[in-house]
Symmetry: D2
Subunit: 263 residues, 4 copies
């Protein structure tokens, strides 16, 4: 049996690339085009990659697209509020059912990430083009595959600093050091329902972060890691009337207490 391809959908709000020359110069066809190309290059036949953007109908995330997506990557910055709530509902449901989600950089403030985290997801930032070192604090994690040294550097980045208001991650893979005095949990995993989520800090619209070799490798690793696995999802509430054996001292149930009540 040939192994099935991982179906990846690369989402981008695709706003700044069309309104700002400085961004267009780095990402002439959009950040999504560069990310999609990187994933194809790194993962070859093992993935099928398509893209989707904010302005498409349903933001390109129809039921049909989502139901055939194994891993969704998300980039947004200027237009988080324009993402419609029912699309956020739909993406959340798919994550719970097992779809992987890779949340990139400024998408920490996206509706979908905040929805899945339950916190503000806010952080400190500074845009001064400073040096960043990403230290590996979980060297055995598959998302660190292929990295050869204890850290890697980005010469010029926007700083993101703690306190990053997220739930305690299931796993922290990278912690960033910034020239200007800050630290940041930069590579964090979370499980929600059956879905695996990876938040990855680097990435910006006026620095060529997504052209970086290490960044591309890590995104490819994250796609592999977050692809659906495990058993079916059992996250629906359900009345299990049948017990293994009859209950001793069973009591009468007043069904009227349960009209229109879940759980």
């Amino acid at each position: 049996m040939p192994k099935q391809r991982i179906q990846v959908t690369v989402w981008n709000e695709f706003v700044h690339e069309r309104t700002h020359d400085a961004v267009r110069k780095i990402y002439p066809e959009g950040i999504h085009a560069v990310v999609a190309e990187a994933l194809k290059t790194k993962l070859g036949d093992s993935v099928a990659v398509r893209t989707a953007t904010l302005e498409e109908p349903d933001h390109g995330l129809t039921d049909e697209v989502l139901s055939s997506t194994d891993v969704l990557t998300w980039w947004g910055h200027a237009a988080h509020d324009q993402v419609r709530d029912e699309i956020v509902d739909r993406v959340q449901q798919r994550v719970l059912e097992g779809m992987g989600l890779i949340v990139m950089h400024s998408a920490h403030a996206s509706k979908i990430f905040r929805r899945l985290m339950g916190t503000s997801c806010m952080l400190r930032w500074r845009e001064a083009g400073e040096r960043e070192r990403l230290w590996i604090v979980n060297p055995g994690h598959p998302i660190a595959d292929g990295l050869q040294d204890e850290y890697f550097e980005l010469p010029q980045t926007e700083m993101y600093g703690e306190f990053f208001d997220i739930p305690a991650p299931d796993e922290v893979v990278f912690i960033s050091w910034f020239e200007g005095g800050e630290v940041f949990r930069s590579g964090n995993t979370f499980r929600r329902g059956k879905g695996k989520i990876f938040y990855f800090r680097p990435g910006h619209e006026t620095f060529p972060i997504y052209h970086d070799e290490n960044i591309q490798m890590i995104l490819a690793n994250a796609v592999r890691w977050s692809a659906p696995s495990g058993s079916p999802y059992f996250g629906d509430g359900r009345n299990i009337a049948q017990s293994l054996s009859p209950i001793q001292g069973e009591h009468a149930v007043d069904e009227s207490l349960h009209e229109s009540v879940e759980g």
Copy 2:
């Protein structure tokens, strides 16, 4: 300096107690009255307890009440949908700022718990009056203070079974065994923002669970554990223009990229 009292608000939707005789018999003045009394008895001078219910203006959770609440306990079952979204927003914000939250039994399906978890929070259930054993799996946890044996029992309960669709808890304190064949993570802690959350499974409207000595002791422990602690909350996004020392190779920032953009 006298230690300040923990300000506790005991919230209850207070529906079944007024519509069903079987419930009224066990909780004539409402579940909240029994829980509030238990906390006063167990915690004495170290707490100040008040109650709030769904039908009050703002469900009894005005800004004034919430801003003077250290720990909020939440019980609901039949009327989750009637809790207004702006009140849920308000409670969530207070949790992030440090207010403790104790989520009881069927409140697993409450808006506030689902909001803070980001998952469906659904589970399996059966109402057959079966025996439950709660095993301690974290004996050093302050929420287990005063328990003398490896487990304690409830002779007749509604069953809640896995899969319980919650994020991996920060700590699991109790795991339940049910006569009919199920298990459940019954005492779970989570931090969201600066706030400490405890989900506690036992509790029901037609079994006298909140009259139980161990249950009352655990709720009192949870109040103490979830009371605000730590530093201030730093969960607001903020531009930190100033770096520790001047950035080498600082680059020009296009401010127009950041109009009306957070993070």
Copy 3:
């Protein structure tokens, strides 16, 4: 490039199978033979499997064997104390360097598991041939791959009950329900250094647990999951004399303070 095979070494103390007829009947060539065969059947060309036992020189775990082992599975019960400490040192070091370790059933009390956990690893038990249900509490985990229902059953097992004295697992995949009134965290993951560890409860010498289809599938999943991944291991202490840029206000170091001192 052909994907490399995962090198698996199946270790067994191999005592009871030779001293007790009841055990020999179920595992005539030893538990290791059945486990090794199961892995070959389930994983085919993607693994190369060999076995090792207590009575071999170095318990079959020479430097050569260990350095070419990607995943080590461990079964012991009667002879934990006969495992030499220097072999335990060696296995521990290999785990830190990235070798996967699958700890089976009564090996909870093995020297290597206790060494890696730092706790007593003790538990409650009863050998009455009772029914066990293993509930999936982490349905998206790769170790649950292929399971189709919310739980699976073993009709007759030795009971293991909480409190199981282990550190909080990184992930809990299965929680067991036992007919006689107990629960148990039955499938637990831990990372130590770069190595991934899976403790799996089921398995016994007089019940045919390792002939069970689900058990074999889970062991195969665990082999895949625990195979080495990530970056190199950086767990050696090291003096990093060179800083990124010269330290402001650098102070004189009294080297004599560091004679023969690590860290």
Copy 4:
């Protein structure tokens, strides 16, 4: 009932203070004397503090001392190897039974910490007197009580850098930024058995770290946090012959399989 005092034992190997003038100048009576005094000042009547050092019989950690110790703080650097293994056994057992343990700075390489962690506990270091910023990443944690800002600084410290080879902490409270380019998980909690462990990075023999106000406050917080709590410890292995109700299909047990076998 008057609340009982927390019994604290402050342990120090007490070597460098007697052999090196630079150390003696900062800690004329030993690091333990300064730490003990700080705890008394900060915690007043709520603690009773004594000290113990390497050269005392049993390193000052007799059964009598340990059995009356609620929280043990540990500092060592030059003489880890001189701590006798049976004393390490004894301390480990007491931690499992519920004694708090605060591991300070270079004690990351102590026998007791490595024993409880199961990993190498090694790290990168540089002694250049550089600036350190400790960022709060868990603002609601009781160990951060009283801190008023997002971070605090130490003007001159020895650097400790990642990869720090420890198991994933239960909670990370502080992450350090170092002037020279490194980061470090500096305030980490772990539970082992019933005991609560806090590793705290700052502290050194030639910098006056333990005279710092914030450091003293955090150590005092850690004493309160790690004091024993919860139920009794159930970490002894035990055969539970009695099941809740008779096992269906009970099978004959061959007792000879269990001679001299634990678990």
